[in-house]
Point group: none
Chain length 123, copies 4
């Protein structure tokens, strides 16, 4: 369900974290649902279990997951709010990149062109 871009400059564990928050935002994962096991997700994404474990640990620390004594990781009731708050991070990152572009001579048209292209690819 989660997609990882090995060539992105964002760390893999961060991509996993935003991936889960995205699943909640898109209602593909709901409070009470169980996340896949660390080993299972690591195998599916062909990542090292430690990398997935770090993402899960931080999600648990934030209150996104609730894990009791080595049981499954359950999406918490607060996950929705946390996922929503995370949206701001995504937006801020876009804003930062756009701002940098505008400051350095890119035109609005350039940026609109990028948007169009990415949207097509994303389909």
């Amino acid at each position: 369900m989660i997609k990882i871009d090995l060539h992105s400059q964002a760390p893999l564990y961060e991509q996993i974290k935003t991936g889960f928050k995205g699943l909640v935002r898109r209602k593909l994962l709901r409070p009470g649902d169980a996340a896949p096991s660390i080993r299972a997700l690591a195998a599916q994404l062909t990542l090292n279990p430690n990398t997935v474990a770090r993402a899960y640990r931080e999600l648990t620390a934030e209150g996104f997951f609730e894990s009791q004594r080595g049981e499954e990781n359950i999406v918490s009731a607060r996950a929705g709010a946390l996922a929503k708050a995370d949206t701001e991070n995504l937006k801020a990152r876009i804003a930062e990149a756009v701002k940098e572009g505008l400051l350095n001579g890119l035109s609005s048209a350039d940026i609109e062109a990028i948007l169009g292209r990415v949207k097509k690819e994303a389909i």
Copy 2:
């Protein structure tokens, strides 16, 4: 002349490099002009001279600077072309951020809203 954002996730030396390329794109710096000395720029931006030195070193390696006159760093004749090519980096960074947003549940409207906001701020 160059603006640095200490809180950006872009490395400082990269910001310096794109800063110079932006100055050339905006014709505020032209081939034959001398860049400020490493120490002067570091002092002005309150950065570690090593950081500025790294940017200058890479700009020289790329052929953007020539150090012919004494020890000064002179903007080369090829700088214009290099600056133009650099635009692709800026575009790629925007594209990556937008792609990440779309993959994780942001809508096109969200992204348009960001654009509008940033444009206003940039005025």
Copy 3:
């Protein structure tokens, strides 16, 4: 009869084990008495039967239980001695916590205060 604290950092099966030993120390359970069945205790404490089973298995291995009469778990004649020896575990755990506190800046007065408070609560 046994109290479990789900939020304690002590493992559940350990709490069950010390619980039984405490019952013997307080003479609420005597050699020859039968312990509740695994299923019954698990249901009463709302724990996973596997967790209770592990506690019973270890108690049996230690010689605290004997399963002679049918399938029942009978408190053995040696249980009293084992219960007494277990006291050392409790003491060691307290000692470790206190030591950690003293090493990290807690004063004797702080610790006395905790003692007073806990004693009151325990009444």
Copy 4:
């Protein structure tokens, strides 16, 4: 400056974290001071650098350290408050151990005896 007990049941990275908070509580480390580098502390404690790195990462996430772009880890202005709050954890752990002891048949005298012994050792 920090002492680690390899045989404690507390994880090493947690001991490092409480160690730093203890140093702040005891005024041996003050806001603005730099913590030793990850590699240096790891070498001194003969631990793996990753273990120390984890402690530092979490301290930074909590706002106890402030680290800028791969520079030194500086004790933040908020560190005092965080260290104080941590005291409650230490106290809670002691309280928990004492409570467990009382519930399972330890007498007040037993516990006082432990205190006396640990205090002597701690000198």
